[in-house]
Symmetry: C2
Subunit: 121 residues, 2 copies
DNA sequence: TTCATATTCAACCGTTAGGTTGAATATTAT
DNA sequence: ATAATATTCAACCTAACGGTTGAATATGAA
């Protein structure tokens, strides 16, 4: 897998913008056309159109054309890639904590041994 | 919670850069100093220092100073915020699918009823 | 004290990102 | 055929991003 990093880049940069997250949120409850999606925003239709393209590039949004109107739909699959990466980090992190914990427990055992040995004449 | 969006912004923009993800990956297995972190990269120390600041702003990295050296550590907590948002989208999405499914099943039942009723003279 | 090391600050530079406006294109409605 | 609608394309602007270099600061070592 050589494209994993670059696709992760696209997914995460797509998600990093609040407007795009709002669009995605909207689409996760119902499909919608470009104009419908743009309406609630205070920016131009063109600006929203650009945001949608970014989401498409990240494969978070799919487009189905029907005449002059384009229906957009949410595709949750790429979110798995993102969460997978995060889970990976957390896994490394907890592995490290477990190792540290084991080490400390071993130390405790050693200190207990030495104490009992000392007090046990 | 009014700062949630802006902190999500910071977290996701921090994660959206591959250099920063590499730094985080490195830190999730062991703490390290700035110079240590910078060494494997082909960019200047200053560039890495900047990346670290972005990660700090997102609270994904903590800094502990000891004399002239700064020890950095990974803080996984903000990843929860990010995954929580994604899980939210997926939840909406599957709710929607469930609703659609229920609707289709109801339709099937109706069509079955009308068929049996029709054949039942 | 002097020198070396660890790190940031400050200024700059090229590229990209997010936004605007205006025109182009394609489709539907009158 | 004409007009209205839905959407993108193209050019442009500004601010932010990722990077560089050079100097500043603070601490540790000789």
């Amino acid at each position: 897998m050589k494209h994993a990093a670059s696709s992760l880049n696209q997914i995460l940069t797509a998600l990093a913008d609040p407007t795009r997250r709002a669009i995605l949120h909207r689409l996760s409850t119902a499909d919608a056309r470009v104009t419908e999606i743009a309406r609630p925003f205070r920016m131009s239709l063109n600006a929203v159109s650009k945001h949608i393209r970014v989401l498409e590039r990240a494969r978070l949004v799919r487009r189905r054309r029907a005449g002059r109107e384009h229906f957009l739909s949410f595709n949750p699959a790429p979110l798995n890639d993102a969460t997978a990466w995060m889970e990976g980090q957390r896994a490394l992190w907890s592995a490290r904590l477990n190792a540290l914990d084991a080490m400390l427990q071993a130390e405790d055992r050693a200190s207990f041994d030495s104490k009992t040995k000392g007090s046990m004449r």
